[in-house]
Symmetry: C2
Subunit: 432 residues, 2 copies
C-alpha cells in the first residue's frame, strides 16, 4: 500500500489534481511541515486558457504544458504520482487509485471538471471536446485531416460535411476557438489549399442562451458577437443542439448541419469519485463545501476550484464561477488554513476577489471586464496577451509562446499544421 | 479516378514520399512545365537527423516537422495528396493508393526505408523503432511512463526492467540517442526523481559489428565509443540480439537484459509496393536503378534516395550509403534529367559527392569526417549544430530549435518531458 510514498513522520496532504488550484496549494505548502503528495492523470500542469491555440494549430502543446517534476524539482517532502484517482474512502482516510491505495491526513480534491454531454451518447461518440491539451491536439489532427479528405472525396455532400465546422457553446473557449478558426479560414486555407473553395468552409457557433460569454458583461458579449460576425462566423444564439444523427447536428430551430467537425464546448460537470455520492454534490455535480472549502459531511477532506461549489459567500449564492482565479484564490487560502489548523488557529473564510475577466477573439480583438471598466479591441487584446504570457509557467515556455505569437502576428500563419499522433500510453494500472 | 487532381495539359510527375530526396526533386521542378503531385503518408516533411532529440525530450516534434502545404504555398501546378501508396501499375502508368488511383507520366519513388526487424516477430511486437517523428514521440512517452512506473512498483525485478534502457544498433541514430539519454540520466533524472537510485538506470548500446558508426572513419568510431563509455553508456560491440522473450533481450554472448525500454535502430529495409516484386529489388530490398535513377526493367519510373540501390557508380559497387546527402543529390540531378528528357537532351549519370559526415554524442561532443580531415569534440559539435540548424526548414523552426538548444545548454535540461498523445487519425481510406 501507499505505493511507495514513504512515511516521514509528518502529516500528509494528498492533492488530487494539479490544475490551477492544486498547483497553487502545493506551492504554498512549501516548507509547511506537511508531506505533500500530488496525484494527477497527467505528468504535467495544463495552462487551459490557451488550449484553443493548440486546437487551431497556433501553438505547440508543449508550450502550455509544464511537467510537475520540473515545477517541484527542489522541493523537500514533495511526491508526485502519475495515476487516476478512482475513489475516496473517508472512513479509513485513504484514496483509491489506479496504482493502489494511499493514506492521507488531509485530502484536497482539486480535480476540476469534465465535458458534459448531457447524457446524449450520440453526441459523446462523435463530438470533439476541448478540456485537455491531448483533446486539443486530437482536434487539430481531425480538423486538418478533414480538410485533406475534403479535397479527395468525389461525394459533394461529404465534401461539404468535411468543410463545415460546428462549435457548440458560446463561452470563452467556444468564442476563442471560433475566432482562431475563422482566422485560419481567412489567412491560411486560401494559401495552403488553392484548390479549395474557401467560401464553402463554414464556421457555426451555436449558443443555447441569448448571449455569448454569459459570465461577462453585456458589453463584452455584444462586442464578441460583433467581432465574430465581422470575421464571418455564423453565430446562432437561442439555439439548442438536440442530437447528432446521420452525420448531422440537429438543432431545435429545425435546421440540420452536416459536419465532421463537431466541436463540443457546451458545458462541464464535476469529476466523480467512488463514495462521493449525490448526497455530497450540488449543482453541476460539484462537491458541496463550506466557507473553508471543507467538504460538507466529511472531516479533513477539502475540495477547491471548479470541482467544488461553495454557497456560503453572500455575493455568490449559487456558487462561484468556474474560473482559474477562483481556484487559485481557494488554493492559496486553503494552504494558510491547513497551516492554521495545525497551529490550532482559527480558520479564515473564503472571499472571492474578482480581478476581472477577458476573452480574445482574434488579432487585435479581445473583450475585457474590470469592475467598472469595460474594454474591447486592440488594447484589451494587448492586456490579454500580457496577462496570459505572465501566467505561463517557465521562462522557456514564455519565450516559445512569445516567438510563436510574434511570428503568427507578422506572418498571419498558424505554424503547427501537423497531423501527428503518438502512441497512447496507458496510465499504470495494478502496478502495485 | 485521379482523386481530384485535375488534368492541366502538362506532363504529370508523381513523387511518392516527401523526404530529403522527394522534397529536393519537387522544389527543383518548380516552373519546369510539369504538373507535380507529391503523395506522402504524412502531411509534413520530417527532418530525421534530429529525431533523437524528440525521443529524448529535448525538442518539440513540431520543430523538426514542416507541413508540405506550407513549403509549396506559392507553387503553381503543384498538388499535395495525403495518402498511403500501396502499389505501382507500370503497364497502365498509374499508382494505387489508399484514396484511389492516380495516372502518371513520370513516377518517382522516394519513399525511403522502414525498420527492419529481420523477421523476428517477438522483437517487432515490443521494440521501439525510431524512423518517424511519431515513433520518436511514442518513445518519449514510453520512456517517461516507465520511469514513473518504476517508482510505484513494489516488484524489484520489474523496477529494474523499467529502469534498464537497451538500444540496439550502433549507427548514428543509436549513438545519438544513447548520448542524449545518458545526459538525461546524469542531468535530469537526479533532479526530477530524487527518490530514484539513479545508478540503477542502465543504458546499454548493442552493436553487432566490431565498431560503432560503421559508415564513418575508424577515428570517428573510436572517439564516439570513448565519449559514450565516458558518459556511462554500456557499449557492447560484436554482440548480436537473438530474441526478446519474457521481458528480456537475449544476446548471443549468453547475457539476458530485462528491459521495458527496448529501442530498435538496428537496420532498415526498403519500403515495398505491390507489383514491385523481388526481381526489381537488390540488397536490403532496395529498388535497383541505373545511373540515371531509372528503375531497371521499367520505363518512366524512377527511384531516388534510401529506397533505391545504384551499383553503376564505380566507387560504390554495393550502392551508396543511405544518407540524406545521397537522396538530395539524386533528387537534384533527377529534376535536371526529367527536364532534359523533355527537351530530348542527353541524361547525366549520377556521381555522389561526399560532403562528409557527422554524428553528435552529447554536449560539446561530436565526431566529423571531412575527406582527409577527421575531427572530434567541441569544434565538431559546433559544426554539427550549425549544419543542422541551417538544414532545418523555415525561420520559425530555426528560431525554435535555437532557443531550445541554448536553453538546454545553459540549464542542462530536456524540457519536453511530457507523456502526451493525441488520438490517432486514420489516413483516408476508400474516400474516393
Amino acid at each position: 500500500m501507499d505505493f511507495n510514498v514513504p512515511s516521514v513522520g509528518k502529516k500528509r496532504v494528498v492533492i488530487v489534481g494539479g490544475g490551477f488550484g492544486g498547483l497553487k496549494l502545493a506551492n504554498k505548502l512549501c516548507n509547511s511541515g506537511f508531506q505533500v503528495v500530488l496525484v494527477d492523470r497527467n505528468n504535467y500542469h495544463q495552462f487551459l486558457p490557451m488550449i484553443y491555440e493548440v486546437a487551431s494549430a497556433g501553438l505547440e502543446p508543449s508550450s502550455i504544458a509544464f511537467p510537475f517534476r520540473k515545477i517541484f524539482q527542489k522541493r523537500k517532502d514533495f511526491y508526485f504520482r502519475w495515476a487516476d484517482v478512482t475513489g475516496v474512502n473517508a472512513k479509513e482516510n485513504l484514496i483509491e487509485t489506479s496504482i493502489g491505495k494511499l493514506k492521507y491526513d488531509y485530502l484536497v480534491i482539486a480535480s476540476g471538471t469534465e465535458t458534459n454531454y448531457f447524457g446524449n451518447q450520440n453526441i459523446e461518440d462523435v463530438a470533439l471536446p476541448m478540456k485537455t491539451v491531448e483533446e486539443a491536439m486530437s482536434m487539430r489532427n481531425i480538423l486538418l485531416a478533414n480538410l485533406e479528405r475534403s479535397l479527395t472525396t468525389a461525394d459533394l455532400k461529404e465534401r461539404q460535411a468535411l468543410q463545415n465546422i460546428v462549435i457548440v457553446g458560446g463561452g470563452a473557449t467556444g468564442v476563442e476557438v471560433s475566432g482562431a478558426l475563422s482566422e485560419m479560414k481567412r489567412f491560411v486555407i486560401p494559401k495552403d489549399y488553392p484548390e479549395m473553395e474557401v467560401h464553402k468552409v463554414n464556421i457555426y457557433l451555436i449558443e443555447a442562451t441569448p448571449k455569448l460569454l454569459s459570465a461577462m458583461s453585456p458589453q463584452a458579449s455584444a462586442n464578441a458577437e460583433k467581432f465574430l460576425r465581422g470575421m464571418g462566423v455564423n453565430v446562432m444564439l437561442n439555439t439548442l443542439v438536440q442530437d447528432y444523427r446521420e452525420g448531422k447536428v440537429i438543432l431545435d430551430n429545425g435546421m440540420d448541419i452536416p459536419t465532421r467537425n463537431f466541436i463540443w464546448v457546451s458545458g462541464v460537470t464535476g469529476t466523480s469519485f467512488d463514495n462521493i455520492g449525490s448526497e455530497f454534490l450540488g449543482r453541476g455535480r460539484r462537491i458541496k463545501v463550506d466557507e473553508h472549502n471543507k467538504v460538507i459531511g466529511l472531516d479533513n477532506v477539502f475540495a477547491i476550484g471548479d470541482v467544488c461549489i461553495m454557497t456560503a459567500e453572500k455575493d455568490y449564492p449559487n456558487g462561484h464561477p468556474q474560473l482559474a482565479q477562483v481556484a487559485i484564490q481557494q488554493g492559496d487560502l486553503l494552504a494558510s488554513n491547513l497551516k492554521n489548523m495545525e497551529k490550532g488557529k482559527k480558520l479564515k473564510p473564503f472571499h472571492y476577489r474578482n480581478l476581472g475577466s477577458l476573452a480574445t477573439v482574434g488579432r487585435n480583438k479581445a473583450v475585457a471586464d474590470f469592475n467598472q471598466l469595460k474594454m474591447h479591441g486592440w488594447f484589451a487584446w494587448i492586456i490579454w496577451l500580457v496577462i496570459h504570457l505572465r501566467s505561463i509557467l517557465g521562462i522557456r515556455n514564455k519565450v516559445m509562446v512569445l516567438v510563436n505569437w510574434v511570428w503568427g502576428y507578422l506572418t498571419y500563419d498558424k505554424s503547427i499544421r501537423l497531423i501527428m499522433a503518438a502512441k497512447r500510453v496507458k496510465r499504470p494500472k495494478g502496478v502495485n
